[in-house]
Structures are given as C-alpha cells and as structure tokens.
Symmetry: C2
Subunit: 130 residues, 2 copies
DNA sequence: AAGGTTATGATAACCGTTTTCATTTTGACA
DNA sequence: TGTCAAAATGAAAACGGTTATCATAACCTT
C-alpha cells in the first residue's frame, strides 16, 4: 500500500474508455477531457509516474508500439493475448492459447534454455474495418 | 535496386559478429573497431539509415528492447522466432512453430479478424548461463 | 497545529532517432 | 575521360517520448 496516487482511478477509468492501447499522453488528454469544467487535470509527469507504477504492479498491461512508444491498457483477465486491429487500432483480448504451452515445452527441450517465457501479439483487420 | 549503401557489407558483417541483437550505436562502434587504423568509419547517421533500410527490405530483423531501443539482427532463415537469454543477451533462432498456424486459424474464426499476423518472442536462461 | 513524509507540477535534462542541408561520391552518357 | 544529375554521406540541429530534478503542496500521525 502506501504508494498510491490520487489519480489512480482517473487513469484507470481513462484506460477503460475504448478498447485500445493508449499512450501516456493520450491518457493525459482523456483525463483532461473528462473534466468538463475548470478542474485541473494531473500533470503529464504524474500520469507518466502513475502508469509506470500501475504497470509495475501488474494493474495494467504495457507494450511497445512499432515506433517504440509505450502503450498501456487495462486488462480483464490475467492470461490472454492481444489482438490489435491494424486499421482502427482497437484491441481485444483473446484467450490464452493452449498450444503455446506445447511449443514452450518443445523449445525448452530443443534448446536447453530454462525458465522460458514468451510474448505473443496478434494483429489483423477487425470485422468493422474489413 | 539502386538504393544501396556503400556500407551495407560492413553493417551486415558487424551484425554477424556474435549472436545477439545489436543497437544502431553498437553496430557503429563495432564497425569502428573493425577498422584498426585511421580509416574513417561511416557516420552514425549513415548506420541509422542503413539499418533502417535493411530492416525495411527484410535483410535484418528488428525488435524493440524492453526500454524501447531498436535492436537489429541478421537472420539466417525466414521463418523463425527468437529466443533471447535474459542473462547474457545472446539470441538464437528457433524454428517456426507449426502450432502457431493452428492458433492463428482459431483466432481468426473466433474473432472475425482478417489478415492475421503475429509476433512471438521467447526468452529464457541459456545453458551457458544456467 | 507541528513536523516529517510523500505526491505533485513545472521545467530541464536525457537519449535514441530523424531531419536538414551543404558537400561528396556515384553512375550514366556523351 | 569530362560533365552533369541523382544519390549517399557527415555534421549538427531538431524531435519526441520519457525520466530526473527540485521547490511546493498535500497528507498523515500524533
């Protein structure tokens, strides 16, 4: 505990708006938008810090865009992959693929590597954009 | 053709030195080292440009490090995944996993997404480091 | 309310990468 | 081989996302 931010909820709720990965600056803008009136949004620094911490704590998922930008997303389940639409950028989760376990075991046996982990991301064109 | 660089060979041969992904600046340093004497190495700009182009042409593979840095590697086969050692950073290729095709087809059916592609990277601890 | 701890905001620093542009090299062709 | 246009190069500046800095503000705990 202790290491919480006053803005955790706003950051998380911004991430929940729309099913896509968002950059830190997008999150910052979303929060500013959500506050209609003269209310002061958190600074960019704070949003960076908050997202960084939430990612470290496992509260949000982080990936790198093709351009190297860091993108965040709030995820529902713990075991899943991401499927990004190349056209509209929306992302959905797909359930963890059982087959990957088999591949992992085979790679481990084949290579002698230990403590194998992996990252798997899908992309395609979603039904709406197709 | 036509769009080649005078330094393609040196860049590629630097990438072949050691089986690990290398940043652009590492490649630049490797080339400078390889030229013992007073010979002038290519500028950093040129190495950036060359690697960028080689990646676009599919001559080298590019990934992003955890910190967002772009890393390059010369790869032998066209269909493979990478297995990075978390301890020493060396990378080896593992043959393309047949199971992934099945997963891909299932995800396509399940989600209605078209033109699916994916990226799959493994990491672990190699036999030498274990 | 006092005092120490932690979070925040504004700004500067960082760092890898890209852009710019003047200069050099290259290649085609007479 | 000399000329000329097109392409590549180097040096430095610009860029963009991210992190560090530090003074100020908010937050406990007593």
């Amino acid at each position: 505990m202790g290491a919480g931010s006053r803005y955790d909820n706003e950051v998380l709720s911004a991430l929940r708006r729309g099913d896509r990965f968002r950059s830190c600056q997008e999150v910052h803008a979303l929060i500013a938008d959500a506050r209609g009136g003269p209310a002061r949004p958190p600074s960019l620094s704070t949003v960076y810090r908050t997202l960084h911490r939430l990612a470290r704590e496992g509260e949000v998922d982080a990936i790198h865009s093709e351009e190297g930008e860091r993108l965040y997303r709030r995820c529902a389940t713990s075991s899943h992959h991401h499927l990004l639409c190349r056209a509209c950028g929306r992302a959905r989760e797909v359930p963890h693929a059982r087959e990957v376990r088999a591949v992992l075991a085979r790679v481990e046996r084949l290579t002698g590597f230990a403590e194998l982990s992996y990252s798997l991301e899908f992309s395609g064109v979603c039904p709406d954009c197709d």
